[in-house]
Subunit: 500 residues, 2 copies
């Protein structure tokens, strides 16, 4: 029997998917364990794989197969959804010539490499030329896609990280939060300072034990170590592939909670990847949705679950045992108070959930100014510091605490940051829905049984792949569109003790 | 200016080379750190990369470019040598249809995965069906190449691991050694038993310290840790890419010398890869020669250098310090005697250099019987045990000590084993030539300065890439063709104390 156009298209997507998986593992390797001398060659390898994928996706035959498959009335709903997504990816990819794809990938890889040193040396000037080159190429690609999709440049950038996401959606939500957070933060800090300080935990906390503890709690949540790993990297992330999910963290022997909460955060990402529908592996419809939904899964696990009183009831004795701690500092209530401590800090990845949106909003606003041309990259460090002072009332004393702290821009990633806060809002809605739907979820967390929660996430979110869009998913799961009030309610409940 | 056919061919080879580098890193990852659940997906990723390389190498345009480049009279010697090698690879690759390439790669990956469990459980029957499938596909590919090249099947298999290598070269040398070794071995063991036993080293030897010691000695030999790593894997190997060479070992806390000598062996491979001509990176002429020459580099470092009295003069105090040892057991002379202990053992990778050729010869003879069809895979375990009893007068008590011990056959690798012993012969000739050419080499080793030796290897061997063939290189470097008498002379010198 000869294959239908649709099935030949699936075969082609499978090839592209496999090349993408190879690239994902190489990227993980680079970030986690590659010796520094391998960087140039690795950048070339990744650029070549990108060129190959791009070639497979954009060649004439792909377009012909898409056209022919669109006429095929025998497709079921999943197949049809898959076809729509393939067409969308094909349109976007076809907008960018292969030379530009390769040049952009290489410039971003090179910039990322320079950033690693620049960050260690707190020296933005060192990375500026590479950043300018990468930025220009990313904008050139973005403009090409924007033109083909009939979008503004910034919307085309956003669309790469969350299909369908637009400035018109983000800006009102962020303006609302930016107006609300400063006063709420003042209130929270005032209440916090009136209460007795939580007891400090006495370190040091050896890295090996932190890692073991992380693995114990990952396994408890449901991470399968036969299908993934935990390693170290400068910038914690979740990489690899759905069948081999690799998360990373960085350890500080003076404080174990930062790495541990980071590990649990990445575990949320990992559970999503591992839970994607196997039958649609390497097809567009079988991939995870955009980064807002991805971030909702990590923040649901970290913020909604693992910083709750219920979680510390379960985890406090395990933490205490791991480090051989003793005394009242290790009580669930004290650990909960430490884990929900609010502070005006410099580092986004270490921020509490109250100040976190401010970190995102300031970056989003800087991206808007960069993309529109109102801000030059050379002026970014000062603009970054000003924006932080404006929203958080603190000013970084060096670039590692400021503009150099995050990898994103130096990896050519512009338009990604908003998804963190959209994810936080989505997480609040999903968790509210889940706990209302299944009364066993909260007692499960308190007793260390995460199966009810993970089962609900698997069924309602992970197994859906990209069958529906992010906004359709929120609507279908939570019964209403994205709503910042649920997130605010969660913050009031947790940080005002339900009083506000 | 439009590119010449030759330069377009170079561009194409560069693409193929980059895909090959990606595959090399993925293969290292698989062998060293991949969680078991990733195996199926990884097998598919590697098969896809192989299909892509194969497609690039065999498509019509490659053939046309080769034809056109052959007419180009402006090529220099390196370019012309490159072109000859590209043509040879193209002819071989074109002989095998892509379907068969993919099917073979997947069958071999699957078989390798099953072998890992079968070996742990000492159960050959478990892996037999996968092995039969992989073997049949490897032979089918081999027959296709043999036909195109006008070679016998076995010669076509050998050609994949050492271009130009033929049964007619191997068999007389191996028959000579197989006739010489048993009596020589009896003699050596008799002399050894008459002398006092060397003093045993008291363990345990913690893995972390073994690793540190390995890294210290790797660095002393010249390994650059900015361009490579040392890790653990079930079967020690040297993988990665020339700019990021990755060697692996396995540790035994009761005996540090096995892992350490393994590390130094792989360091020899790594130095070769790292020393290949950068200007010809990813071109056929810039790759290492066949596995005989590769093995000559590892055995030169391990056997000729690191098991010599001169080396132990330098390394004994470092080893003693590392483990906090004391007493006469840690003297250079005692460590040398331990390091040159001869024994009839089961495990090839732990064999001394006197018995090693017997391990290789028995495998080569079994391969001949398998390839000719005289031996069935189902009968391989018994045939393996018989052959070992015949050549080494010992019989394995289980399959892990016998037929399951090595990865090669289970990874679809048939025709590789002879290169180990050809490498040992070549190493003896190269080291003899080197020490005659530069009087600073031996005192350097005794004092921990490996620069004279490595400099000589770089210039005379590594930097040559594949500019000349293996036999031309031996002839050019050593002044005469491969000669087993030099190897025998080395063994007599070391194990008879120069008396025989």
């Amino acid at each position: 029997v000869s294959q239908t156009a649709y099935h030949r298209l699936e075969t082609r997507m499978r090839r592209i998917g496999l090349v993408g998986e190879a690239a994902a593992v190489l990227h993980w390797d680079w970030s986690a364990i590659m010796p520094v001398g391998g960087a140039d060659a690795r950048a070339e390898q990744l650029a070549e794989l990108k060129a190959i994928s791009h070639g497979l996706l954009t060649d004439t035959e792909t377009g012909e197969l898409i056209e022919a498959a669109t006429e095929d009335s025998s497709l079921d709903d999943w197949q049809r959804a898959n076809l729509v997504l393939i067409r969308r990816n094909w349109v976007k990819a076809s907008a960018v010539p292969e030379d530009l794809v390769v040049a952009t990938a290489k410039a971003c890889s090179e910039c990322e490499t320079v950033w690693r040193t620049a960050r260690a040396e707190k020296d933005f000037a060192q990375v500026l030329p590479s950043l300018e080159k990468a930025f220009d190429l990313v904008m050139e690609s973005g403009r090409a896609k924007a033109e083909r999709l009939g979008l503004d440049l910034h919307d085309a950038l956003l669309d790469d990280y969350e299909p369908g996401l637009r400035l018109a959606v983000i800006d009102p939500v962020f303006d609302d939060l930016a107006g609300w957070i400063p006063d709420f933060l003042d209130d929270v800090l005032a209440r916090q300072s009136q209460a007795p300080e939580p007891l400090a935990l006495e370190g040091p906390f050896p890295t090996a034990i932190q890692k073991q503890l992380g693995e114990t709690l990952m396994a408890a949540v449901g991470f399968d170590f036969e299908g993934g790993r935990l390693d170290e990297s400068l910038h914690p992330f979740c990489g690899g592939t759905p069948d081999d999910v690799r998360i990373t963290t960085r350890y500080d022997e003076a404080d174990f909670t930062s790495a541990l909460m980071g590990v649990l955060h990445e575990t949320g990402h990992a559970m999503y990847e591992a839970g994607l529908p196997k039958d649609w592996r390497r097809q567009s419809v079988g991939h995870s949705l955009g980064m807002s939904i991805h971030e909702s899964q990590s923040l649901l696990i970290e913020m909604q679950v693992c910083r709750s009183r219920d979680f510390f009831e379960y985890a406090a004795p395990i933490m205490q045992d791991a480090f051989g701690g003793s005394g009242a500092a290790w009580s669930p209530e004290n650990l909960y108070r430490l884990g929900t401590r609010v502070e005006r800090g410099f580092i986004r990845v270490e921020a509490d959930e109250v100040t976190y949106p401010a970190h995102v909003i300031l970056r989003h606003r800087l991206e808007k100014a960069l993309v529109s041309g109102d801000l030059k990259l050379a002026d970014l460090p000062a603009a970054f510091d000003d924006a932080m002072e404006n929203l958080l009332a603190i000013r970084p004393s060096d670039a590692a605490l400021g503009v150099l702290q995050d990898i994103h821009w130096y990896a050519g990633v512009f338009g990604y940051f908003p998804t963190y806060t959209l994810g936080a809002l989505t997480a609040a809605q999903f968790f509210q829905t889940a706990t209302q739907a299944d009364a066993a979820i909260v007692p499960g967390i308190r007793g260390g049984d995460f199966q009810p929660l993970i089962g609900w996430l698997r069924e309602n979110i992970h197994a859906m792949g990209s069958r529906v869009s992010a906004d359709e998913l929120v609507e279908a799961v939570a019964g209403k569109a994205l709503d910042p009030e649920v997130f605010k309610g969660h913050l009031r409940e947790r940080y005002w003790g339900g009083a506000g």
